[in-house]
Symmetry: C2
Subunit: 461 residues, 2 copies
């Protein structure tokens, strides 16, 4: 093979400990984008990252937005005749709740058996920092990159991504012009088996609030006389889905769902997913979901409805006989092509208005939306990515889908009209959005090598 | 009238400010019985009360139990030929949550427009302390009481009342022998209109916990593949009640319900309850509940099902796309004669087992139970109580029911076989179990006078 990357690999090998130490520094910043109380920490994470990129030799720019800043960096020394790669990632993280289930505090990274455990370890600080590490090593070793590189790392991926959406729509065509977008915010197929993800679900996320009486009441004195917001909320949530068939009962919900193609169902089946192993790993009595579809089909390619949070009344120890004044929930739908969050929001609002009992006031707030997106995982650039991964892991790289959502991917495909490569270094059991999120350091290091290899392959093409 | 109480009334009048100051001291002790973290405070409230009773001139005894202590006191100087009254109350309180809805901290009593605002103001420290104030004034003024008096003040009324239940069953017949039980833990009909309550609902209180996967999951990666405990819980709760008719759907739930008698329905209707005023006061779009029954019938005399608390997943600001590992709720049924909490617990367990989806583990814990009870509000002792109230308030005292539960009342009636008088000094809008619970001081003072008057009437009979 003509694309020797060994020089940089050797440098990466020598710098392993320092790279991990730097990643831990990054992970120590609680950049929780959804919670306004953490806005200063989110900004601190942006500044930290800008500092690292500048030190690596890239020209950096902090782009102010109405929300959290965008981190931008570029190295364009390869010249206009060489390809340009836009690397996307995010430096914000999910809230760490429930805090008491973490073995160690979520923002005090610990290394356990070759894994770094911290909020954001995989999603997406670890994966983003693999790119930074790769670029820094290439520039340090060679003084140049084989292609032009732009980086755009956002701070709102976990909270709606509105700022990057606006930026890409307004300034993307000129500022972000490129030949492909490279994103590492997904998973490998399995430990040691790399994959390119070609399908992402969309998302329509709602907060539903039920207001009953103007104060908490004694459930004995007032019970039976006035609607209980907790009972009402349970009824609304339960009405969204048929428990027997797993079908979503919102009128019109399935109208725009693109059915799974026969070739996809065959390819999914050929992957040989072990459902019993999933069941055992999660320790549930049985897997569940929409009738008529396999686990892989349901999680990768069928729309879903999940409660993300519920609250009402007394949650402490023992018995409190209160008829609570209010109740609320967070509930989200994962969408598939060609559903849109805007239309789903309309349908959900109409459904809730129809089923809400007359004794309470109900509000539905759309918190977050993302289009479902399917990218093309064929063509020379995708082939270069698959080959680079195969080089590093010594295993054929698979093409897979995921139930996760990355709101900006659809916008990149739309505005930039170039291939988007979802080259993930995570694993299914990394605990994304969960307590004790982790990232296998072997995947951090191999991820950095895969990035080097991909850029070398692209530069040599 | 031959039962002059004016001597004691004059002393009560002079001692008003001191009595309120003492009540505030009592209210400052956070005796939250349901929460084990407050056990020492519950004990402190018992000790404080014992001190006041001893100072008033009663013989006191702190009765240890497996839970919180019972406060016992007696004055038997009237001799065996005179009647004996057993006064019951409770010195424990409900948890103060939600804390941020209190205008002032719940255990820092404040006086606002003639009302004392604090957790336990009415329920039941204020009402219990009206009795203590009455007895202290009588003993101070006269050196004696017109009848023998025993007091039994418990510390677990808000958390199951198991200790007093055991004590009354084991030692009640000898230790508590009396001619009637007097309880002030209910409400008046309206401001200025006293009432004797003759019907209390029972209670069957449950905590239902739903366990899904062994960890919180990413709702995109796992959604649709595994049952969501939040959706499952909502389905279970929603299945308990028909939202259209307000009927409880647990098989067999109504089997033992004693229908409302025609005379009761007529008497309830004659009270002229203003449902529109209730609706306006609670600021709800409409009242709600079981079809075919009036507001008074539903709240006083029909069984109900109320969510008291719900919890699951992320409850913070913004969007967190988590598929939570677990969910839970507190849900309680108010019962009427002849339902029993034990049978209802059986039925609810069977119902939950039937409707729970196969992908989760569901547990149902019975936290608290009380029998429904109907006491006789006729006969000479009840007449003495009604007359005493009429003397003090200058208004005919009504006979009413309530949806509240006082677990020990049924046991008293059963073991002691004497009339139980529910002479309430609270008001419907006192905010029992709610933020900013209050007690109108006029009712505190008039309540003490009503106790004096009742004992004088009984002694003169």
């Amino acid at each position: 093979m003509s694309v020797g990357s060994e020089d940089v690999f050797a440098r990466l090998e020598r710098g392993r400990d320092r790279a991990v130490a730097e990643l831990c520094e990054f992970l120590r910043i609680p950049s929780i984008s959804t919670d306004p109380d953490y806005a200063a920490e989110v900004e601190r994470a942006a500044d930290w990252l800008l500092g690292r990129l500048a030190a690596a030799g890239l020209a950096t720019e902090k782009i102010a937005t109405e929300g959290h800043p965008l981190v931008y960096a570029e190295w364009t020394g390869a010249g206009p005749e060489r390809p340009t790669v836009l690397i996307y990632g995010h430096y914000d993280v999910q809230p760490p709740d429930p805090l008491d289930e973490w073995r160690n505090p979520p923002f005090e990274p610990t290394i356990e058996e070759g894994r770094v455990v911290a909020r954001g370890a995989t999603d997406d600080k670890g994966q983003s920092y693999a790119h930074v590490t790769a670029l820094a090593a290439m520039l340090a070793e060679r003084g140049e990159l084989p292609v032009n590189v732009k980086l755009l790392i956002e701070g709102e991926e976990e909270s709606g991504g509105e700022s990057i959406e606006r930026f890409v729509r307004e300034d993307g065509a000129s500022k972000l012009a490129c030949d492909c977008v490279l994103v590492s915010d997904t998973s490998m197929w399995a430990p040691g088996v790399p994959a390119l993800t070609y399908g992402l679900k969309g998302l329509a996320y709602f907060e539903i609030r039920v207001q009953g009486p103007n104060r908490d009441l004694h459930s004995g004195v007032f019970g039976g006389g006035v609607e209980n917001p907790g009972n009402a909320l349970a009824g609304i949530v339960a009405s969204l889905r048929d428990p027997a068939t797993g079908r979503i009962l919102v009128d019109g919900f399935y109208d725009d769902v693109r059915p799974l193609a026969d070739w996809e169902r065959a390819e999914f089946a050929a992957l040989g997913w072990d459902e019993e192993e999933v069941r055992r790993d999660l320790a549930v009595p049985a897997l569940a979901g929409e009738q008529g579809y396999s686990y892989v089909e349901r999680t990768w390619a069928r729309p879903t409805c999940d409660v993300n949070g519920l609250w009402c009344g007394y949650q402490g120890k023992g018995a409190k006989t209160v008829l609570p004044a209010a109740a609320g929930c967070k509930v989200s739908f994962r969408l598939v092509a060609d559903q849109t969050p805007a239309k789903i929001a309309e349908l959900v609002r109409a459904h809730v208005a129809r089923v809400a009992p007359p004794g309470v006031k109900v509000t539905v707030e759309a918190l977050h939306g993302a289009e479902a997106v399917t990218v093309d995982a064929t063509g020379p650039i995708a082939e270069a990515a698959l080959a680079a991964m195969a080089d590093v892991w010594g295993q054929k790289a698979l093409r897979i889908r995921t139930g996760g959502s990355i709101p900006i991917v659809g916008t990149f495909a739309d505005v930039l009209a170039v291939p988007v490569l979802l080259m993930g270094f995570g694993l299914e059991d990394d605990g994304l959005h969960s307590p004790n999120e982790k990232f296998d350091l072997v995947n951090f290091h191999d991820g950095a090598r895969a990035v080097v290899r991909f850029l070398d392959r692209l530069g040599a093409a």
